[in-house]
Subunit: 363 residues, 3 copies
Amino acid sequence: MNTALLHPLLTEPVRVRDGVTGIERPVALMEAIEENPAPLMDLANRHIVSVRQFSHETVIQLLRLAAMYESQPVPLHRPLGGKLLISAFYEPSTRTRISFESAWHRLGGDIMSITDPATTGIAKGESLRDVAEMFSNYGDVMVLRDNNAGAVYDMLPSLRIPIVNAGNGIDEHPTQALADLYTILKWRPDLASRHTIRSKVRIGIIGTPGRMRTVRSLLLMLTLIDYAIEEVVVIHPDREIFSEGQREELEQAGLKIRCERRLRQVLNNLDVIYINSIAWVGDTYETLTGDMRLSADLPLKKGSIILHPLARGEELAFDLDGTSHNWYFAQARGAVFVRMALLTCLVQRIGEVIDAGSARGGL
Amino acid sequence: MNTALLHPLLTEPVRVRDGVTGIERPVALMEAIEENPAPLMDLANRHIVSVRQFSHETVIQLLRLAAMYESQPVPLHRPLGGKLLISAFYEPSTRTRISFESAWHRLGGDIMSITDPATTGIAKGESLRDVAEMFSNYGDVMVLRDNNAGAVYDMLPSLRIPIVNAGNGIDEHPTQALADLYTILKWRPDLASRHTIRSKVRIGIIGTPGRMRTVRSLLLMLTLIDYAIEEVVVIHPDREIFSEGQREELEQAGLKIRCERRLRQVLNNLDVIYINSIAWVGDTYETLTGDMRLSADLPLKKGSIILHPLARGEELAFDLDGTSHNWYFAQARGAVFVRMALLTCLVQRIGEVIDAGSARGGL
Amino acid sequence: MNTALLHPLLTEPVRVRDGVTGIERPVALMEAIEENPAPLMDLANRHIVSVRQFSHETVIQLLRLAAMYESQPVPLHRPLGGKLLISAFYEPSTRTRISFESAWHRLGGDIMSITDPATTGIAKGESLRDVAEMFSNYGDVMVLRDNNAGAVYDMLPSLRIPIVNAGNGIDEHPTQALADLYTILKWRPDLASRHTIRSKVRIGIIGTPGRMRTVRSLLLMLTLIDYAIEEVVVIHPDREIFSEGQREELEQAGLKIRCERRLRQVLNNLDVIYINSIAWVGDTYETLTGDMRLSADLPLKKGSIILHPLARGEELAFDLDGTSHNWYFAQARGAVFVRMALLTCLVQRIGEVIDAGSARGGL
């Protein structure tokens, strides 16, 4: 046949590009953190709704476990065999849903997915309280994405299985924040502890703390490594960007926060730049305006990294993908391992895995 | 961080509330019934569309098997390993779909789900006859929910795998009726046989026998324990509530049926109250009017139980959830084990399980 | 109960009708082809988008493997244990989706399904390039159905896992063409090689080569057995039915092509009749007009076979189902085994399976 008509990428095997998929950095992170199973044991049968639930040591050990998973090309065993996940995404989100389902499947569990509110009892006017009661009979863990911030809280009283908040309206998205910090620590393992830190970092956040769940959860997460942060620079064209009491809570928790209205003025001074221009409001969203756009031609600090929860909009130029600043792809990849770590703990399977991990670490 | 802002249920592990999840009652039911594998063997490769297909002994042995499954915190093995379920829900129903899928997964099988008619060949005008022919190539068992009562019957001639009717319009819902009877027998195991019965019960049904598939199937199921029923009181504000020939068939089968138009007049006399105010009509539904609402302040008979197929509407007050009359949550939970029992038989895996069951029973 | 009201098919176990489900023909085909693992090894980590990627030997060995799978009532083992498939169907297609998912599950793998574009990042305006980047983190293989012919090509540059084209607009549908040829070879194993062929065949195609992806891919596939084809008769009421350069490419590859505008004139002369009256155009379709309809009363050649990718429209009469000309059901069934064969190779698991296959063949 006329193979001249073939796209060149169809004439060769898939190329595994490097950088994103290497195991050096997760191995380095794993070895930089001393193993301590205790806080992971304490996560058994816990709901995970807010970053406020996490302590520094719990998060660091979770990220160590994530690094252990990422450093294993093939999982050593399937600790969640026979366990059932209810994956309920009442707000459209293929990325987060597939990321959670991939994590669960890699651990050996089975899944029941709900991707369309129109097919649920809720569409028949059923109360979330009853839905939670039912789901407690059907699965071992539930993951919920809902554009109503209160939905997950309405379910808590009648749940008999752990629930993980995969994004509740404009409130929180804790596993995304875990993935954000995981990326930062793979970049700088020394930031994991106040005893190993070599130098503080300046973190820029382009987004709306009061209206973006990813930013809200990230800021709470950053308070756990306040010792590592010179300051957090929130970059936004408007003045009213925090929700009531939000900035005060963060500052009381030890974050130094500065607000800037122009991106160019601070860019060359930032070690980490987190950008997310999508603010979910109900089931629609607003995008930032002005000069809040990152591209390769801007004066980015040497060695600085860019994070983005994705999906990407116009605020993040494709010409950054090929640069050393692109850590947003590693961030997306890492989210799978972070969720594997968390889910392993929730179903009380950490015992098996840590053994495997110690063995692995001992190599 | 400011944990004072945390919901109290986020500061402790999930509480497993009792009552719904205890194994005492399923163990008692299992031991009250003498094991007899023969009728379960006969279910191999059978379609399950109507309650009319069941004999007393078949149902009792199915419910014994369901009790065996419920009494095992962890399944002893996975009898459906490698088996594929096609879960086709052309009418919205998360509860029933997830209940079936949970049952199949707990037995170790894999699943292909169809939740949206718009994504099916049927949307391209394909005949159900061809769909059945195709599905016979893809799976080992099919579960169908369709708001057209005739759909399942249109598929029968070209099916080469068993199909389970998960609700066909206003016709039948046989596995729901199995779950209803399972709940009644967990409450009163002596009703399982005319030889063990201590006293007859009076059963009230709030619903429309001629237009509600759950009520239609339950009434047929009750004819199998006619020896245990003082009378069935159907409570409905209207006069024409049976479909043609329905009441005659039930009475010929041995049911004593009385009709009442007011709930309060009979309530204090009922041992079992089944309520379902949703009657599917095409793809919409009607709700009952009048005084057909149950709440904790009504003169319920001491020791009486309330059943409801759920999803709940206004007809069932939340203040009943905390009372001893609430058996509708146990009913929903039991549906998973009833479906596990039925599916095990359809794919001819009962051999393995009964051995395990005998072993378990022998403990 | 009144079992007289039961549908007769509910009173007996499922009948497994023969013909479609026998293993004689796949066994015969498997034994007619000498095993040669080399070209299957070469399929490891390859994208499969166009039939142009296949050589004669690769296709023949793939179909031998498919025959091996079909001749095993129960898979000997589960070579894809722990592997994850991303099943993304952005254009409605239950048949093809479930066929792929059935193939993957039978091999022991797990699946994440996307059945509704409205629930994807694409609906948020995300680039396919980013979607491919993400999916590369979540799964081991991706299957894509999209009514936009360019979507699969847009994904190639950022994919780090193999993708299988399950139908891209009016362009191609390579696995369907594999299933088509598989059916032809089960009917006439001697056509698998120029050394074993007993007599050439005349193949009629009722459809639009330039607008039907199934016809486009089938014609390319047929060039691989040009030695076995007397001529291909394309039957269509219009004159302009090829896309630019299409007919020239096929003829340069060795196909003799004749166009006819009336079905009756050529029917009694055709050994294989392929009919498909649905041409997807964007997200709607056109159907052929005129006398392009097959039914049992037409002068079909004795021993000739009819193929149809299904779903069936008015162009294929039900009265053909019971005749010996009906090979379209076998074709649909075979598609599962063809996909099992291809997927096994893409994830580099052919090693294990061939051993099993040799063993099986040696019996």
